[in-house]
Amino acid sequence: MTRKRSITPYTFLLPALVVLGIFVVYPIIAVIYYSFTDYDIATPPVWVGLDNYAKLLGDETFRLALVHSFVYLLVTPILIFLSIVLAIVVNRRMRGIHIFRALYFVPAVSGSIAIGLAWKWLFDRNGLINSVLQSWGVITVPIQWLATPSLVLPIAMLLTTWAGVGFYSVIFLAGLQNIPEELYDAALIDGCTNFQKHRYVSIPGLRPQIVFVAVISSLAALKVFDEIYVLTNRTGGILDSGVTMVFYLWKEAFQLSNAGYASAIAIALLAITLVFSVFNVRILESRDEGAT
């Protein structure tokens, strides 16, 4: 360990700090300022005090976006459960298992716009799902899946889950492979069933990965945008049925040129994420044996 006072550490850090200063720290300060102004990006901001926040409180669409973003968090526990199950399924030595693992990863690397379009095509009025349901006689008239307000959000959440399971299960798979074989042998001797073996050995052994995936996937759920954008044809859905916090922020800032008001939405989003994360980050950090 070097103890001497020198500028070397700072020169190593300089490029990163400059970039993050300009593109993360400054924007946060600026967005706080903009949230107190009437601003359309083209003309200079005009100070309006707390007007934007007052408007926020009475804004029905904002309330809806807030509810939708919280509902979207349901994706997190579902993702964790399914990803662990998938990790257990692929955690065995079998011929060709690597091919299957790669196939499960396909949605994660394909890009949200591509998979969004693929799903839109499945759920289209003239899409495959209607076609299959009709040929089975389940329905007689095609369902307008993405034009039904109560279905937009669930379909987007299903899409997020489908795309995420392969990705997160890789993390759980690595965790499973770190669990010593002896623990499973002990469980076997104790007469554990297969289910009990995973309940009492795998799940506790995966705790760090569960925390990590919970943090990452809930942060991702709070800022979902691409799925909604594609599935609703950039409208946010009929009656704003698919509008999330970030979608509303985007619409106000870049479609309606209300950057001041959008900044207030951004601050609300930041506040929620902070409250949500302070707790989570503590857990993450407690695993990181204090720096020397």
């Binding site: 070097t2 070397t8 190593f12 850090l13 490029p15 990163a16 700090l17 970039v19 993050l20 300009i22 993360v24 924007p27 946060i28 967005v31 990006i41 399924v89 692929v90 079998m94 196939l103 990863f105 690397v109 394909s110 890009g111 949200s112 591509a114 998979i115 379009l117 693929a118 499945l122 003239n126 495959l128 076609s131 299959v132 399971v165 392969g166 890789v170 993390i171 690595a174 965790g175 770190n178 010593p180 002990a186 001797i189 052994g205 760090p208 990590f212 800022k223 691409d226 044809n233 970030v246 985007w250 870049f254 950057a259 959008a262 900044s263 989003l269 994420t273 980050v281 720096a291 020397t292």
Partner: protein, 298 residues
């Protein structure tokens, strides 16, 4: 739990071996069942892409919507691909995406590896403050910064509507710094001290000792950042507006409004854009998965 488990396996080794033997005999029967499960899951993950591919290949004689659905085209045609390539400069989009993703991937490795070294292996004033500030930026949703970043791009940096607008704001991420810091910390201090005794400077140590040792982590950061940048949509869609200057995801979104209900063409567009990144992923899969897994060691 560990010690209890250890104590118990000490004696009845024979029991375990017997159970394992029974397991192997049974596994011959059950492995067939497992393959059915594995294939069923693969169908769920891959099917939407398969349906896209089949739709894109359907010729004029094949209905895109029928009851029951027609999966395999009876009159296959590449007409949809020709329409897409005629309407949009897909090769240009591909090149644009490649320029951005390669630059962002390479520069992230460089800048993050530089920042990670002092944070992992040096003592200096403000280190912990800087580290926690970096951690804090992980929480901030990127979309929150887009309004000021948009203003900067137009008024200060003048790179609005150019590819530079996608590269500069993404030069480094705190996540990558964090990941490489963890990797550097696993390098023994003795190695670094020995180099110092031999008179090597910090830059020399960083370049010739640390970087070669953590090469797998560097590869993981490069690949992870490349794929993220390649698939990024919201910020590029705000920055890019000239018909020839788009990246693939932005072009793909444009395709959707361009072809409206011509599903054969939209499907062809999706297929064209998904295939390159899938091929890339298959080639680098080993490093990517290893790096992703290594990022969260328990």
């Amino acid at each position: 739990m560990t010690t209890a488990g250890m104590a118990q396996i000490a004696e009845p080794v024979a029991v375990i071996q017997a159970k394992r033997k029974r397991r192997t005999r049974r596994s011959v029967v059950s492995s067939g069942l497992w393959y059915i499960v594995l294939i069923a899951i693969a169908v769920i993950t891959v099917f939407p892409f398969f349906w896209m591919l089949m739709t894109s290949l359907k010729g004029p004689g094949d209905p895109v919507y029928s009851i029951p659905p027609q999966f395999i085209p009876s009159d296959p045609s590449l007409g949809a691909y020709q329409r897409v390539l005629a309407a949009l400069p897909i090769p240009t989009y591909f090149l644009n995406s490649l320029i951005v993703a390669v630059s962002v991937g390479a520069l992230n490795v460089l800048v993050a590896a530089m920042a990670a070294y002092p944070l992992a292996k040096m003592r200096f004033f403000g280190r912990d403050a800087i580290f926690y500030a970096l951690l804090a930026t992980l929480i901030v949703p990127a979309q929150l910064t887009y309004i000021p970043s948009f203003v900067l791009s137009v008024n200060v940096f003048h790179y609005y509507n150019t590819l530079a607008a996608l590269i500069f704001p993404n030069l480094v991420s705190a996540f990558n710094i964090f990941l490489l810091r963890q990797a550097f910390r696993s390098v023994p201090n003795d190695l670094i001290d020995a180099a110092r005794v031999d008179g090597a400077g910090e830059w020399r140590i960083w370049w010739s000792i640390l970087l070669p040792i953590v090469r797998p982590s560097l590869a993981a950061v490069a690949i992870f950042t490349f794929v993220t940048s390649w698939n990024d949509f919201l910020w590029p869609s705000l920055m890019l507006h000239t018909p020839n200057g788009l990246t693939l995801p932005v072009g793909l979104a444009a395709l959707q409004s361009f072809f409206q209900s011509d599903f054969r063409s939209i499907a062809a567009g999706v297929t064209i854009t998904v295939v390159p990144i899938l091929l890339f992923f298959i080639v680098v899969q080993r490093y990517f998965v290893k790096g992703l897994a290594g990022a969260v060691k328990g």
